[in-house]
């Protein structure tokens, strides 16, 4: 991107398309040229650990899956060689290609340039590039990966040995104000390190892993349990200490680390040291900002509006992902959907007219033909190929009856391979297709699409899972695994030949949305949808909108929360398309994606709302503590209660000499095994306010880990600089709170550093209490067919890739109902949910699966067993000339097949998984005699 001119609605963007020296339309990705190219270069994708050629494909699942030539090429440098041009059979090499300038006109821009991993070479103390066996975590990701430099074997740089004793050093480049480091916390490295530890133990169960850390910041959803999982593995040490990477053994090349223990400083050697590097702003972000005409914030990330982190300083230019600031994948995904929603607010009038609908060829009638089966066996890079002998499986498959084509593929899911499947279907007239690869979960849609492209009904596709069910679990038994892969292919074949074509159901989409919960999340989503032209019903249980934010007054960054809330509420009431219902109770909800009907009661009235999408934004509340004399002594209060007093300007706060705050009250324990995420920042925010009121007040914060992730770290530092004292306690010995005979409120805590009991007489004790799901979540969830997770927070369809969708189509989630969050994060996610809901509401129709249950009414004896067992209310009786008979509503049916197990006459059959199809598959697992012998053995014959 070279420059942007114009303004929102009419940007002119200049793009420089770099020469690839490859004709994109000609290259088939066959990599013959790569084999012949004589120039070895460090492979950028593999962190330059492995080698690749001057001409190569970026990585094995690259999109597009074609080669490019980089500047190390001999021809480009000195007009020599050119061998690739000679060997390429497709005439795809083109050395005359030039960089090309292009101009495009767009209405809006979304920036997602991500981050750059911190480069530890800028500071010599990390010894990266100096000691051979010091690598970064990014390098280590490549070492772990099956497409990495050693095909998934962990080897260390100095001698390619398998390292056994590995150390991780946390916060490399982060949380330090010294030159060359970043002041902020990079927010993801604590958790990715735990992941790397778990994966290392998967590779080598006897590995000894040591993590040197400061605070452990497991602040995200399920992170605390993840941390425990890593910590409880055998041979794992988590050591809280600053470290020095001191020296390298001249012979073994092991690396020595010095760290502090209660008994003084020790030095220990490791085979390999991994630096958990942080996240820098993207490369060239300054130039980028200049070209885009946007401003950056002080750390070099995109500057945003205080209460809308998606909006940059230039109208019509939005930002998502890590360019907002360090964050993980789920947040990068929902901020993307959020940016889309804000784009939609600006450009709604253009929608639907620009992209062309995908048109598939008409389906051929093949059900009556003899089966003609094609089998495609995937290497999945090395994931399958390293264990299973793929050519042998192909050979085997080709001999099965009706199989007219069998082949291997490197990555069946790559765009080109999927297209190859389409081509083969057409060429050979296949009417059944089996792909032996991974799970239907990710790629069934891909391959079904290949069938549709070839004019074949998509239900003629069958998946054999030879990765999760085979190569991954039998990585040590290659021969047996190959045998099992053949068994799995044969079983799939048995089912495939019995598959039948099925139709799908087209459903109209109602354009109205229902938002449940009128807090900041619900209001933000509602407004965003309304601004894209959709009618929205916003339903709130309380008398007033605002939710928990009504009790918040300022943020850690000092923003005026009440002012923001007032404006937001006004805007909601002013928008003609948002209908607010307060004091509301949801009586019941029925229907399905695109066509829900919900009855809401408010002040004696009952309103029936028809809507296409539902967003649950029911928020969270404060835990009522039973501990630390809360409710018994007026000097003990929660953080929110202290904030309210601060906001009211309570004069008595100026007279406080000492204040104590206790962190993690009700969080991170057995009952609530999660971190409430916001309370560390909340305490620091209050502490800083108290210091403003009276600079010499003594404040003690008793904590387990301080979790001021991201830019919040700067305020933690500020608090320390202002003399606020942080004292760490272990969960086994929490602080004790009592009142002395003289009536003094006394907090006793073990001081780890001084090694003694510390008694603090305090005037006020503020508790950082947990954030908990509100009452009635399960009830609400049940009404909308949504799921609730372990800690009573709503459970999304996929933690990373569908973070605001529910498994139930048409229902979405946002805000702290999903997990505790800071207000800006809630707003991010609320826009995200709106963006996702828009992918539904912007359509006229949606399609529902054909793999649903069907009742043979002649065989139905009207017992109702299926009706009772269905979780989705999809079956009901209907009157027929032969009396009442069960009927399945195909749109409500989720195809789980429970009903088929209950029907005494076998009248209900799940399409696509009919008894005959499943039994054939099972029978093919083993010969009938084998099964009988096994049964005999089981009953002791």
């Amino acid at each position: 991107m070279e420059g942007v001119s114009g303004e929102v609605g009419d940007f002119k963007v200049t793009l420089l398309k770099k020469a690839r020296y490859i004709r994109e339309d000609k290259c088939t990705g066959c990599t013959t040229c790569v084999e012949y190219c004589p120039v070895m270069v460090p492979d950028p994708f593999n962190q330059e650990i492995g080698k690749s050629k001057a001409v190569h494909i970026y990585f094995s699942q690259a999109i597009p899956l074609i080669t490019y030539i980089d500047q190390s090429c001999l021809y480009l440098k000195e007009k020599k060689c050119g061998i690739c041009e000679t060997v390429c059979e497709n005439d795809a090499i083109d050395f005359r290609q030039k960089d090309q300038l292009d101009q495009i006109n767009v209405g809006a821009i979304i920036l997602a340039p991500g981050f750059e991993p911190y480069d530890p070479r800028v500071v010599t103390e990390y010894k990266y590039g100096i000691f051979g066996n010091v690598v970064t975590s990014m390098d280590f990701e490549r070492l772990l990966s099956s497409t990495g430099p050693y095909e998934g074997e962990i080897r260390r740089p100095s001698d390619q040995r398998h390292p056994h004793k590995i150390a991780w050093v946390q916060c490399v480049g982060s949380r330090r104000v010294t030159p060359g480091n970043n002041s902020y916390c990079s927010a993801v490295c604590c958790t990715y390190t735990q992941k790397q530890v778990i994966l290392t133990k998967d590779h080598d169960s006897s590995a000894e892993c040591t993590v040197f850390h400061n605070d452990i910041r497991s602040y995200g959803k399920d992170f605390e349990r993840f941390y425990e999982r890593a910590k409880n593995l055998s041979g794992i040490r988590f050591i809280r200490s600053y470290v020095t990477i001191s020296r390298e053994d001249p012979v073994t090349k092991n690396v020595f680390i010095r760290y502090a223990t209660p008994n003084g400083v020790v030095e220990e050697d490791f085979d390999l040291v991994v630096l958990s590097v942080g996240l820098n702003p993207p490369k060239y972000s300054k130039e980028l900002a200049q070209k885009l005409g946007i401003e950056l914030e002080e750390h070099g990330f995109s500057k945003t509006e205080p209460f809308n982190l998606i909006q940059t300083s230039r109208p019509g230019v939005f930002v998502s992902g890590t360019f907002q600031g360090p964050t993980d994948i789920p947040e990068s995904v929902f901020t993307a959907s959020g940016a889309v929603s804000q784009t939609g607010q600006l450009l709604k009038h253009r929608k639907g007219k620009l992209a062309t609908e995908r048109v598939y060829p008409e389906e051929k009638e093949v059900a009556k033909e003899e089966p003609k089966v094609g089998v495609f066996v995937c290497h999945c890079g090395a994931n399958i190929g390293r264990v299973v002998n793929v050519p042998e499986v192909v050979e085997y498959a080709s001999k099965l009856p009706h199989v007219v084509h069998a082949q291997e593929q490197l990555f069946s899911c790559s765009t080109d391979s999927a297209k190859q499947i389409t081509d083969v279907i057409k060429e050979k007239g296949l009417n059944r297709v089996i792909v032996a690869a991974c799970t239907p979960r990710t790629h069934e849609p891909t391959f079904r699409d290949s069938l549709r492209e070839a004019g074949l009904n998509q239900y003629f596709f069958e998946f054999a899972n030879i990765r999760e069910h085979c190569s991954w679990v039998h990585s040590m038994e290659k021969e047996e695994a190959t045998k099992k892969a053949k068994d799995l292919v044969r079983m799939s074949w048995a089912r495939a030949v019995r598959l039948e074509p099925l139709g799908e159901y087209e459903l109209q989409v109602n354009k109205t949305a229902l938002v449940v919960g009128g807090g900041v999340a619900g209001m933000t989503t509602a407004l965003s949808l309304a601004k894209q032209g959709h009618e929205v019903y916003l339903v709130e249980r309380e008398k007033e909108l605002g939710g928990i934010v009504r009790r918040l007054h300022y943020t850690l960054e000092g923003l005026d929360v009440q002012g923001f809330l007032r404006d937001l509420i006004k805007e909601v009431y002013a928008h003609p398309l948002v209908h607010v219902i307060t004091n509301a109770r949801i009586l019941n909800a029925t229907g399905y994606v695109g066509n829900f009907v919900t009855r809401v009661q408010s002040d004696g009235f009952v309103k029936e709302i028809k809507h296409g999408a539902t967003i649950l934004a029911t928020g969270a509340t404060e835990y009522r503590p039973k501990e630390y004399l809360y409710g018994q002594d007026p000097r003990v209060m929660t953080n929110l209660e202290l904030e309210e007093r601060l906001a009211k300007g309570d004069e008595s706060l100026k007279d406080l000499n000492t204040v104590v705050m206790i962190q993690c009250v009700g969080s991170r324990n057995e009952e609530r095994n999660y971190c409430s995420r916001i309370c560390c920042s909340q305490s620091i925010k209050n502490a800083l306010k108290l210091k403003e009121l009276r600079p010499d007040v003594d404040i003690y914060i008793l904590f387990r880990d301080i979790r001021t992730y991201g830019f919040r770290e700067d305020y933690y530092r500020l608090a320390s600089d202002k003399g606020i004292r942080f004292i760490r306690y272990e969960p086994q010995s929490p602080p004790l709170v009592g009142v002395t005979d003289e009536g003094t409120l006394r907090v006793t805590v073990e001081d780890e550093i001084l090694g003694n009991q510390l008694e603090i007489d305090t005037d006020l004790l503020s508790l950082a209490v947990a954030v908990v799901a509100p009452e009635g979540v399960e009830e609400t969830a049940l009404k909308f067919n949504a799921t609730v997770g372990l800690d009573n927070f709503y459970k999304e369809a996929h933690v990373k890739l569908r973070p605001v969708d529910f498994g139930t189509d048409g229902v979405f989630v946002c805000g702290s109902a999903h997990y505790p969050k800071h207000i800006q994060e809630v707003i991010n996610q609320a826009y995200g949910a709106a963006g996702r809901a828009m992918t539904l509401l912007s359509k006229e129709t949606v399609t529902a699966s054909g793999a649903v249950a069907l009742v043979d009414q002649n065989a139905c004896i009207s017992c109702g067993a299926c009706i009772t067992v269905c979780n989705y209310g999809a079956i009901s009786f209907e009157e027929t000339p032969k009396g009442k008979k069960a009927r399945v509503n195909p749109v409500l049916c989720k195809g789980d097949g429970l009903c088929t197990t209950k029907c005494p006459t076998g009248a209900v059959q799940l399409q696509h998984f009919k008894d005959g199809q499943i039994m054939a598959q099972l029978d093919a697992a083993k010969g009938e005699t084998d099964i009988l012998a096994e049964l005999d053995r089981a009953v002791g014959e």
């Binding site: 999109i63 994966l199 993840f226 998502s320």
Partner: protein, 72 residues
């Protein structure tokens, strides 16, 4: 209420203009998600990526927390 007015003005501004296409700069997980959501809503999208392939840093990761599933 400054914000509302600003947005309304912006709106008027945009309706008069010619272009409804969108450029997404950066083809990591975030840029890809944005492009997919936009395309699904009928926008024409230009996804601009500096590297020879899309995927960004997530493509380089082996597996990802907290579910430890494959990232590619």
């Amino acid at each position: 209420m400054a914000k509302v007015i600003e947005l309304r003005q912006l709106h008027r501004l945009v309706t008069g203009k010619k272009y409804g296409d969108v450029m997404v700069l950066g083809g990591g997980i975030s840029g890809i998600q944005a492009s997919l959501d936009l395309a699904n809503q009928g926008f024409k999208v230009y996804l601009v990526e500096r590297a020879p392939s899309i995927g960004g840093h997530m493509a380089q990761l082996d597996k990802t927390f907290p579910t430890n599933e494959c990232s590619t």
